[in-house]
């Protein structure tokens, strides 16, 4: 295999080049048409890129390419464009549909136009490499391996995995969470959160109905009932002889310290994402209803307001602030956010632990949250304040009387 591959067509490229210089306009046009067709069929990105300046952003137009089990995108074959017919390859259609669902989710729920907010084209590459056990975002597009059938099945088989990868692009274009240590774990968590929300939104599931699993449809196809990660129960997604027990922590006291290297997963970004994942899950179920509405909006606005180097406590504080701005300070949504971070042992900056504990109790009560609990807590606070004001007024009156 080499880095470049000859273009396979009946007329050699150098003759087409010559024909482009022909004095006959029909010959020139025919040569140009042939070159463009060849480029399109082979997915020749080098040629396509020369037209990008003239192309409209595209409102997230989808294009799926087939890598034919090679690693080189320039050799990939066009498999399904936005306006093209359905493919005979299920992996192509799954990728195409999942890209569309993710794009529509961001558009309808958050009024976000594609990954960059400006209609960025969505390119997906299926059958990447030989039985590759991975899917990833390369900074510009998504690539999906076929899996080896033991660790993973075809990676296009999971909607939340595809949404997870696409959300890496959203994060890059918003907070830009640096992919190391805690900010890297936040980056990973954003992808799990919005990946799961895309799935819940597509199924119209309420928070309490969702499975909160990542990759259940593709991870270890020979083992039923497990998943790559569990947002509800980090650390309990899988337990098998080949991979052992899911090592994700669900709270800060179980934070895993790994070296900031490739082998150390850049400081454990895929490990410690379990902590903010659990915080989101708790927030969503305590607010109740559709998780993409209140909880999702709080997280999305916090993502946009965050900075690249933010740590867990920074992000927790931002979600608390956003909950107050969006739904009212002291309301049940903000109380749910507070109690969730409290439970995973991430303190909110500016909220003393004692206060957090009292408000958390109001939010989760006997394990569940509700608007009534939140309102009741608020009413109690107002009642206490009233009592104090009344007492103060009495004291002032008494003081006046003694003069």
């Amino acid at each position: 295999m080499s880095g470049t591959r000859p273009i396979n067509c009946i007329i050699p490229p150098y003759i087409l080049d010559k024909l482009l210089d022909s004095e006959n306009s029909e010959v020139r046009q025919a040569a140009l048409d042939t070159m463009l067709l060849t480029a399109r069929l082979r997915g020749e990105r080098a040629i396509r890129s020369s037209f990008t300046g003239a192309a409209a952003p595209g409102d997230g137009r989808r294009t799926v390419f087939d890598c034919e089990q090679e690693e080189f995108l320039r050799n990939a074959v066009l498999a399904r464009p936005e306006d093209g017919p359905e493919s005979t390859d299920p992996a192509v259609n799954r990728a195409f549909d999942a890209l569309g669902l993710t794009r529509d989710f961001y558009k309808e729920v958050f009024q976000r136009n594609s990954v960059d907010g400006q209609g960025m084209r969505l390119d997906g590459y299926v059958h990447f490499g030989f039985k590759v056990n991975n899917a990833f975002w390369d900074g510009r597009q998504m690539l999906f391996g076929d899996g080896d059938g033991q660790e993973f099945s075809n990676l296009t088989g999971s909607l939340e995995v595809i949404s997870h990868e696409l959300t890496h692009g959203v994060t890059d274009h918003t907070s830009g969470f640096v992919y190391h240590n805690q900010s890297g774990a936040l980056n990973e968590s954003m992808s799990d959160v919005f990946g799961s929300l895309v799935k819940q939104w597509s199924l119209k599931q309420r928070a309490e109905e969702a499975d909160w699993l990542i990759g259940a449809d593709v991870w270890t196809p020979g083992i039923g009932g497990d998943a790559l990660r569990s947002m509800k129960d980090p650390g309990r997604a899988y337990n098998n002889p080949q991979f052992g027990k899911d090592p994700q922590p669900d709270r800060m006291s179980r934070f895993i310290h790994l070296p900031d290297t490739k082998r150390g997963d850049f400081g454990g970004v895929h490990f410690n994402s379990g902590i903010p994942n659990k915080a989101f899950y708790l927030t969503a179920v305590r607010i109740g209803g559709f998780a993409w509405e209140a909880a999702g909006t709080i997280w999305y606005e916090a993502l946009k307001a965050s900075s690249a180097e933010d740590q867990f406590q920074d992000f927790a504080t931002t979600t608390f602030q956003k909950a107050g701005e969006l739904f009212g300070a002291g309301g049940p949504e903000q109380a749910a956010v507070l109690s969730a971070w409290q439970e995973v042992e991430v303190p909110i900056r500016g909220v003393p632990t004692g206060v957090a504990r009292i408000r958390s109790f109001a939010a989760n009560g006997s394990g569940g949250a509700g608007r009534e609990d939140g309102l009741a807590a608020l009413a109690r606070q107002i009642g206490t304040l009233n009592d104090k004001v009344t007492q103060l007024a009495k004291d002032v009156a008494e003081l006046k009387g003694t003069r």
Partner: protein, 100 residues
């Protein structure tokens, strides 16, 4: 010569820490296959690795370690920045191990 392939990182990085390296011994290979592997290794070692731009997320990395007596060759590349020569070597190794 012993050739070990390690895969780490990627979407399943947390599980991957337990992924053991896949090792083969060329003395157990047919002569033609051993020669092909030696050729692929030499080609991959002779090609400078591409520099990743740091924008990839969930990309998997690979280390190929070839030990021939006292001589050890270590090659490391990732999904997001891979030379054609390394990709050829990786595909050969994957296909070999898939048949085992």
């Amino acid at each position: 010569m012993k050739v070990a392939l390690e895969s780490y990182g990627g979407l399943a990085a947390a599980a991957g820490l337990r992924r053991p390296p896949k090792v083969l011994d060329t003395t157990a290979l047919p002569a033609a296959a051993a020669a092909e592997l030696a050729r692929l290794l030499a080609a991959a070692a002779a090609t400078p690795p591409e520099e990743p731009d740091g924008r990839a997320r969930d990309a998997m990395s690979y280390t190929v370690t070839a030990q021939d007596g006292d001589r050890v060759t270590v090659l490391e590349q990732s999904d997001a920045a891979m030379t054609p020569a390394f990709a050829d070597l990786l595909t050969w190794l994957r296909k070999h191990h898939a048949q085992q």
